[in-house]
Point group: C2
């Protein structure tokens, strides 16, 4: 054992005690070797074909389920998120692997386009066939708050593998034992598929830096803080060969209650908002951190309901002691801003090391930029607006967010439309009459948004389109059938959806098509 | 006139003489005002709808054609590219505007996906509807070598406008009068459409820097040198809010001649290669700068044919005096590398200020990284390989390229397949038995490639997919029909292609579907 290499320690989130040493931090040489092995695995992963990769993802889900009991116990110990939540998260993680397998099996993600030659075009057009190919090895940074669904076996790993890219995961230090256990399950499936280097795991902050700067790494996927994410983004951009960095960083997720909604169902919104900002002890990237409520009788009633319910909300354990410390500090900073009043919540951190849910309130006229920074944990800031114009002006000052939520009155149209117009330029998902903290895994999901919600708002980290991050196009010009990938051959042996000579296969461009 | 602001001068490329002052360089305040106006124009451009924007693009093409005679005369004076070539380029530019209008009229670029609610899903799925929306104002940097098709009215401007993004163009200093004239034509169409700020024009290097760092700019499109492009890329990445930088930088465009191809038609390949690397005096981003030819009788014959023909190739005027100086310097550096011999070409720059086509040759064993840097102008380097293994190893050492070309024998399969496997990881387009210098504008074209060919190999700057650079997704969750964009409404009033509940509209997912 190299005593120059720090231990990787698994900590019990509830007690703060170190439970076991699960290994040593990865050395630069180890990281380089794993990245080279990942690069060498690109052809083998390609050779599996879409069907083989889909089978690999299904097999990985099965392996995770087989180790479910062990994985859940470790994840609960390391995250304190509780078995019910984690059981759901494991199901989601496995469903996500299977969903992405189905997505790539259909083949539309390949974006196959075939243009037959057209000598009459200006300039004359040769035979051109375009499809998406894997970028190469992907570095994935697991997040603290979803030790399964956004960590080693999470959406980034699943979509990179689905795209055909080997993955090197940097384990999150908050749950190294969970990371190792889930990696073990994925690895068994990879070995069985004959591509053992399709997934590997590294530990330690220095290993993360080594990963992002390794010449074999072709793209990075990251979920975490603005500070950590931006530092890695900067490294990726500064490389001799810059690589794309798909980071999901910070988001305040504004929620708007129109006067009509407050009048119709203020109490129920107060209850829903409380449930949303305290879900998982506020440790969701989609937690509503700012709620715009109208001044006046109904808005005041909503505030009072939230104050009363918030004061009764239970304290809870956060993922790590450092997250707890950051929460306490963040709440104090928010509360110290001009005009901010505490509606519910005592000390943000109690003597037992648990976090206290907190509701703050500020008049719209006193709103400041300091209130737009994400504070991870169970706190939300109510912003009381006096007029519609003030509301729209305030929304126009917000940074990019993953979500923007709107509660409106029955059949209300004018104000909701104006709100949606403003937030559409600043968010990746608009939620109506609901709460943003659920993130469905589906074809239409978008989990992204203008910076700092994401480093590239054109890409989602959840849903079918997540696969696109790890693909790039290539065109083959005048290439004989015998040398084309099967997806581009005239006979389309894999039956992938295609656009041929400008026409989407199977769709009609005219009534007679 | 502010005498602190440098003049913008139009130079006759053939004489090197300044012909006229066409204005002053843009001040930082002017750039900021134009970017703010572009940002304010986003809603108006959106309000035109896809049909309105398509009409705008068609109108722009018509305006360019109406001013064609003036534009062509200016472009010929400023570029020395000659009226035949420029007449073709204007036709291509107008065809490109109309093609992209047709692309967005179809609507598939919006990537509309509708998932109806599914309470049985894990986690339960709400109603989710996803589509692409414009990123916001785009900065476009015109290229020197295509004063029309990759400049003010070029593919970047056309695809940004098609996507719904206002454009601020930084004129290339090599053709400011052409830039002003083409801008005038675009502007007339924009004014008529009621969105005068949809396109604007700035001049000067400082204005370019101001553009890339302006907070209203949401993306940058650039075609030019590695050095200039990388400097701007770094600025874009270092902003407080980083923005995507779609740069097409340098490319050596390797061309491979297999032994079988050399035996079958070496002389014709020599002729074709000469035509390709001297086309437009070698000032194409897709110019084949490296050609791998086999050792032995047929390869030697090919080399000799190229040496003979190359020696007779006419000298020509380059775009600017500084490009000529860089060409002369670049050729001298290439020729000074170990093992390099000059097969054709005397002094790269003659006394009349014209460039001399040059053919160099190096044995594969002496190949070095210094030979992989793009040298803009009519020069190509033949690399003589002794064995197939040496060829594949050499190809594996090349940086990213826009294209890779393969000349093979009739029915040849094994070596071509191995070459394609290697170059697929390093290029954006594989050309078989042809030449890379034509870039068709079509659905399947890809004009991109791993760095330094492009700063993001996932995006093309030519073809239908070029529009995608300027779009980002947004999802609407549980949003009432009355508040949805028409593309997402159940009745699909615009008839855009959509995926509904996982099924691509109009396509069958099973034989009975």
């Amino acid at each position: 054992m190299n005593h120059a290499t720090p231990d990787v320690v698994s900590v019990d989130a509830r007690t703060g005690e170190a439970v076991e040493v699960i290994g040593a931090e990865s050395t630069p040489a180890e990281v380089a070797a794993l990245c080279a092995a990942a690069d060498a695995a690109v052809p083998a992963l390609a050779a599996l074909g879409v069907a083989g990769r889909a089978a690999l993802l299904h097999d990985m889900a099965t392996e995770l389920e087989q180790d479910g009991e062990t994985i859940l116990a470790l994840a609960d110990r390391e995250s304190a998120l509780g078995l019910p939540r984690l059981t759901g998260e494991l199901a989601r993680t496995c469903a996500q692997l299977r969903f992405l397998a189905d997505v790539v099996t259909e083949g539309s993600h390949l974006g196959v386009v075939i243009d037959h030659p057209d000598p009459a075009a200006v300039p004359p057009r040769p035979d051109l066939r375009r499809m998406m190919v894997p970028r190469g090895p992907v570095a994935v940074f697991g997040a603290s708050n979803f030790p399964l669904a956004f960590s080693v076996p999470g959406g980034d790993t699943a979509s990179a593998l689905a795209a055909g890219c080997p993955v090197v995961v940097k384990a999150h230090p908050a749950h190294p034992a969970t990371s190792l256990a889930t990696y073990g399950a994925l690895r068994r499936a990879a070995v069985r598929a004959g591509v053992p280097d399709a997934v590997s795991l590294v530990h330690g902050q220095a290993a993360g830096v080594a990963l992002v700067t390794d010449p074999h790494i072709a793209a990075v996927a990251f979920t975490g803080s603005v500070r950590g994410g931006r530092a890695l983004f900067d490294l990726a951009a500064a490389r001799p060969e810059p690589i794309p960095f798909f980071g999901e960083l910070g988001s305040v997720n504004p929620l708007v209650v129109t006067p009509a909604a407050a009048a119709e169902r203020g109490a129920s919104i107060a209850e829903g908002l409380l449930g949303s900002f305290t879900l998982g002890m506020g440790q969701f990237c989609t937690k509503p951190g700012l709620a715009f409520v109208p001044a006046g009788e109904h808005g005041t009633a909503l505030q009072e309901a939230l104050a009363t319910r918030g004061a009764d909300a239970p304290t809870g354990t956060l993922l790590t002691r450092s997250i707890l410390a950051a929460y306490a500090e963040g709440v104090r900073e928010l509360a110290a801003q001009p005009g901010v009043r505490v509606l519910a919540g005592a000390e943000p951190r109690d003597l037992a090391g648990r976090a206290t849910p907190t509701v703050l309130r500020v008049p719209g006229a006193m709103f400041s930029e300091a209130l737009t920074e994400e504070c991870f944990g169970p706190v939300t800031v109510l912003v009381e607006y006096a007029t519609e114009e003030e509301l729209l002006a305030l929304l126009g000052r917000l940074p990019g967010s993953l979500t923007a939520t709107l509660h409106m009155g029955e059949g209300e149209e004018d104000l909701p439309r104006r709100v949606i117009d403003v937030v559409t330029r600043r968010t990746g998902r608009v939620v109506c009459d609901g709460y943003p903290t659920g993130v469905a895994v589906s074809w239409a999901m978008n989990h992204s948004g203008p910076y700092p919600a994401a480093t590239d708002s054109a890409h989602t980290s959840v849903g079918a389109a997540a696969v696109q991050r790890f693909l790039r196009p290539i065109a083959y010009q005048d290439t004989p059938q015998r040398l084309l990938p099967p997806e581009l051959r005239d006979d389309n042996p894999l039956g992938v959806p295609r656009r041929v000579d400008g026409v989407l296969a199977g769709t009609a461009t005219s009534p007679t098509g």
